[in-house]
């Protein structure tokens, strides 16, 4: 059984009156179990030069096999220019903006036809070209067929 562990530490010495320190660690499991996730897309590293909204995890078919299975998505904006951002969306609804150096880590529900994950470079980012990285660790992912 594969083992994947994700940890997060958030710290600040000056946000609030006292030092803030939050740490959490979790082994990633298949849905509703204590069995480790065993599949991954691998880490993609892409260079984008247009403001086109792109499906990095595509539109799913009507009955995706991955629905109700557990998946985790990591996306990172590798830009060094603080004005350059990408908008991350799911099913055409914006989740948020990742500025230079920002990352997100979130679970992903592969809902039928309503769960594609998209990124859209900002105008400035597209003009300059922007690197992003992303990966998905999962227990089963469904790719659309040519008929979808």
């Amino acid at each position: 059984m594969a083992t994947t562990t994700a940890s997060l530490t958030i710290t600040s010495s000056d946000l609030v009156g006292d030092a803030l320190s939050l740490s959490t660690t979790k082994e990633l499991h298949k849905a509703g179990t204590t069995t480790g996730l065993d599949q991954t897309t691998g880490m993609a590293h892409v260079y984008l030069t247009a403001t086109t909204k792109l499906d990095i995890f595509p539109v799913l078919p009507a009955a995706p096999a991955g629905q109700n299975k557990q998946s985790w998505v990591y996306i990172c904006n590798k830009s060094l220019d603080e004005t350059e951002f990408i908008t991350v969306s799911i099913a055409a609804t914006d989740i948020g903006l990742l500025y230079a150096g920002d990352f997100l880590w979130m679970p992903w529900s592969q809902i039928a036809q309503k769960a594609d994950i998209e990124v859209t470079p900002s105008t400035g980012a597209a003009a300059a070209g922007i690197n992003i990285e992303y990966t998905c660790i999962h227990e089963g992912i469904t790719y659309p067929t040519s008929a979808d």
Partner: protein
């Protein structure tokens, strides 16, 4: 200007070549190098029904000042120990009430979007764009027995 650092580390032996992530993010205001300077504090809430509960409502509560042009980061954790129980995290218009549409229906102004499920011990860290009331953040427990969630928002 506050400095808030978030570091993710991930290690995996899913493939034959061990994979790892180690990334530091300093939370900044939109388009600047200035650090985020406001936070909700770490909220801990016990939920006892399977109803949707709004964690963040655009333009309301302590995050009322967050807008589409301001940066915000949302942390959520399921602190329960039962591996079969989960919170569904989603985006959707809180004001839609009963008119809110389910995840898998056709596009609709009242449609909600499921992001994913947090099982016991799971956490997420995502940016949040408070562009419109369709971006309210809600959670839905999988069971009506006591489930505890923690969350915190960092914003400008």
């Amino acid at each position: 200007m506050a400095i808030i650092n978030a570091t993710i580390t991930m290690s995996s032996d899913v493939t034959g070549y061990n994979t790892s992530i180690n990334k530091l993010m300093t939370m900044t205001k939109a388009g600047t190098l200035a650090g985020l300077d406001q936070a909700t504090g770490l909220v801990r809430k016990t939920l006892t029904s399977t109803n949707e509960v709004d964690l963040l409502v655009v333009g309301a509560g302590v995050v009322a000042d967050v807008s589409a042009t301001k940066a915000a980061k949302l942390y959520i954790k399921n602190v329960n120990s039962d591996s079969s129980q989960y919170f569904t995290v989603g985006l959707g218009k809180a004001s839609a009430g009963a008119a809110k549409q389910a995840f898998a229906v056709a596009d609709d102004v009242n449609r909600s979007v499921e992001i994913g499920r947090l099982y016991s011990g799971d956490w997420l860290l995502i940016p949040w764009v408070a562009a419109s009331d369709e971006h309210d953040v809600f959670v839905k427990p999988s069971v009506s027995t006591s489930m505890v969630i923690e969350y915190m928002v960092f914003f400008e």
